[in-house]
């Protein structure tokens, strides 16, 4: 289905290292419009670093990242414009503590994109409504639960009307009962056809939301495929071992 | 040399007089620091008392220290004591009284802050490990409190040394006063002495205070976690 769509993001031979420690080693990836890509892999495999590189929060040591044909380069003059097309949500709640919820969402549309204030506010309210938090519009972040903060963070990223959403383990710091409310929002976005790259440890969510799963280890893509194939019949030993750690945990919880 | 008026420094006993003046300043601050530390520790413990009278007293004391300029306090002690009550206190002793009054207040507040900042679960986990009260204080509380206290009290010392520059204003002959006298005496022969003398005094203070400040921030960084 994604075959006919245009390619929005192209990563060519990406290399990222911290000194001698190579984190991403020659990674290639193409993301088509409307595609939802889930990146999984053991901790330290470079999946979060990959998202940070795409958003130019890390300098890269080799290769290129092209967003709609434009190179993403942290040092270039128009990096702020390119970043507007990439909506990123982090693992830790990164709302601005000195701004109300509505101000968190409208700050960038008004100050960065110079959109008229009433238009930005109306749109922000619609987004807050969509994530079920319109009644919190005048609260401050500290008054919200972790799950609510993450939903606001998603709304804030969406307010910039990004081409691609980058979600970096957005449920990893949440209490288990809050994970669902956040992931529901993402499933909804996927249904709507939003292009997303998602790093997660939630396997059942990954299976439900992904068009394509990418298994990363040692800075390479070890295996990729559609979720049914990847989760039920992984081709590589590495992926089998990795998935097995999750199954093992599941069996244990049954017997306890 | 003459351009900066530094030649004046090496005339006669001028340099020795300046260093003598610096010593007076250092002496005043050293005596006050010792008094402040000893009494400040006691005052800090006093401030942790829940007694309402103790609270009011410490509150008022701290507020005076916080608000009144040291120079005003010096005026009160120096002029007030001598003129009003007829007690003859020298300017030096007045300075030491005021510096100690100030130092005890600030030191006490630091001690109180350090003592109350140790979280309750530290006491609880020490108790859970079977320590008695004395062991808890010796092994757990005091080492943590001291680490917080030392850098900040060192900063208090540098502030005291800097403030000694004020004692000339109630007539103590310390380094500033000596400097002024030298400049006055050489006004005709060496009009540029203002540069040399005040510059040297500036550097004297700097090289006394700077290493102490560096030590404080070094310790602060080292012990910050």
């Amino acid at each position: 289905m994604s075959g006919e769509r245009e390619i929005v993001l192209r990563i060519e031979d990406l290399k990222k290292a911290y000194g001698d420690n190579v984190v991403i080693d020659g990674l290639n990836l193409e993301v088509r419009a409307g595609e939802v890509i889930v990146v999984i892999g053991p901790s330290g495999c470079g999946k979060s670093t990959l998202l940070r590189c795409i958003n130019a929060l890390e300098d890269i040591q080799g290769g290129r990242i092209l967003l709609e044909g434009q190179e993403v380069d942290g040092k270039s003059k128009n990096i702020a414009q390119i970043r507007q097309k990439l909506g990123m949500v982090f693992q830790s709640y990164d709302l601005f503590p000195h701004k109300t919820i509505i101000d968190n969402v409208t700050l960038s549309p008004i100050k960065v994109q110079k959109r008229p204030k009433d238009e930005a506010v109306a749109e922000a309210e619609a987004l807050l409504d969509r994530v079920g938090l319109l009644d919190k519009r005048d609260d401050y972040p500290r008054q919200l639960s972790g799950g609510q903060k993450q939903r606001v963070a998603i709304a804030r990223a969406l307010a910039m009307k990004p081409e691609i959403m980058l979600l970096d383990e957005i449920t990893a710091a949440l209490d288990p009962e809050m994970v669902h409310e956040v992931l529901d929002v993402i499933l909804d976005l996927a249904r709507e056809g939003k292009t997303m790259i998602i790093v997660t440890h939630e396997m059942s969510f990954a299976r439900a939301v992904a068009d394509r799963v990418i298994f990363l280890e040692g800075g390479h893509i070890v295996e990729e495929g559609i979720p049914e194939q990847f989760f039920d019949h992984p081709k590589t030993e590495r992926a089998r071992e990795f998935l097995h750690t999750f199954e093992f945990a599941a069996v244990r919880s049954h017997t306890e | 040399m003459e351009l900066l008026g530094l030649d004046v420094l090496f005339k006669g006993t001028n340099m020795a007089r300046m260093l003598g003046g610096l010593w007076v300043a250092v002496e005043i601050s050293l005596i006050s620091v010792v008094i402040s530390i000893v009494l400040g520790l006691l005052f800090g413990v006093f401030m942790t008392w829940k007694n309402p009278v103790a609270r009011v007293i410490s509150r008022v004391y701290l507020e005076i220290v916080r608000i009144m300029p040291q120079l005003v306090l010096m005026f009160i002690v120096f002029f007030g004591a001598t003129r009003v009550w007829g007690i003859n206190i020298s300017a030096e002793v007045s300075s030491i009284i005021v510096f100690s009054f100030w130092g005890v207040g600030e030191m006490g507040d630091l001690v109180r802050g350090a003592l109350t900042s140790i979280p309750k679960h530290q006491y609880e986990s020490a108790a859970a490990l079977g320590m008695n009260k004395a062991q808890t204080y010796y092994h757990i509380v005091i080492p943590q409190a001291v680490r917080q206290l030392i850098p900040m009290s060192i900063n208090l010392v540098t502030r005291m040394i800097k403030t000694t520059s004020l004692v000339m204003m109630i007539g103590v002959v310390e380094v500033m006063k000596v400097g002024q006298q030298i400049i006055e005496a050489n006004r005709m022969v060496s009009p540029n002495a203002v540069f040399g003398i005040y510059g040297i005094i500036l550097l004297m203070y700097f090289f006394v205070c700077w290493p102490i400040s560096l030590l404080a921030s070094h310790l602060e960084k080292k012990w910050s976690n």
Binding site: D94, P97, H98, V112 | M68, F75, T164, I183, Y205
Partner: protein, 219 residues
């Protein structure tokens, strides 16, 4: 206590208070401006300027205001920079305060979580916008306590101005004590006038601290 004498002295003290307030607050505003610029320089470690800023901070934090003032007041005119005592007081206070404010702002900037910068950047803000809308407002409120302490400290430091023959409160008090021997009266008035100058700042400061700590802030 001789209240008639105190009433006679009142205008003199009042005049002196306005002088102290004028120099004090101009100096404090100056120190805020200097502190902000220097803090940004040290925060971003801008080459050359960073080294200059460090020397400035260390020099002014480790020497007494009195000597800084003497140096400026008596030495500057000798190199052809005539400066009035009042301007000297303002400049001296601004430079001294700038060194303290810079350290306060800098530690405030350091206390802002780096993730705040990253998320602002990923919303497409330029580094200048991040500074203005995200980092700076948070840094200011994180450092409000030491900020208030600095202002009180600077207002207290104004008491040395009489040394460069400015007719401030100390000057008037000392003068009157010398002339009329009304020591108690003058000392009481001195204390009262310093309370008028500093107590409101102290009270407002604690209110602001409480507001920022329990109010809008602290996620």
């Amino acid at each position: 206590m001789d209240f008639a004498a105190m009433a006679d002295y009142l205008p003199l003290f009042e005049q002196a208070m306005w002088l102290t307030l004028r120099i004090g607050w101009v100096g404090i505003l100056g120190s805020l401006a200097i502190g902000l610029v220097v803090a940004v320089i040290t925060h971003f470690k801008i080459p050359v300027l960073y080294q200059v800023a460090r020397v400035y901070i260390e020099l002014f934090r480790n020497t007494p205001l009195l000597i800084q003032l003497f140096f400026m007041y008596f030495a500057l005119p000798r190199v052809g920079v005539p400066i009035t005592a009042e301007a000297c007081g303002m400049l001296g206070l601004a430079l001294l305060g700038g060194a303290y404010m810079a350290e306060t702002f800098r530690s405030g900037l350091e206390a802002v979580d780096p993730i705040q910068t990253e998320s602002a950047l990923s919303l497409g803000m330029t580094p200048a916008q991040v500074m203005r809308y995200i980092t700076l407002p948070q840094a200011v409120s994180l450092s409000i306590q030491s900020f208030v302490a600095n202002i009180i400290f600077l207002l207290k430091e104004t008491s040395v101005f009489s040394a460069i023959s400015l007719m401030d409160l100390m000057f008037v008090a000392k003068d009157l004590i010398g002339l009329y021997y009304k020591t108690t009266e003058c000392l009481v008035m001195l204390v009262v006038f310093y309370l008028i100058i500093i107590l409101p700042v102290s009270i407002l400061g604690s209110v602001a601290e409480r507001k920022l700590r329990y109010g809008a802030f602290g996620s």
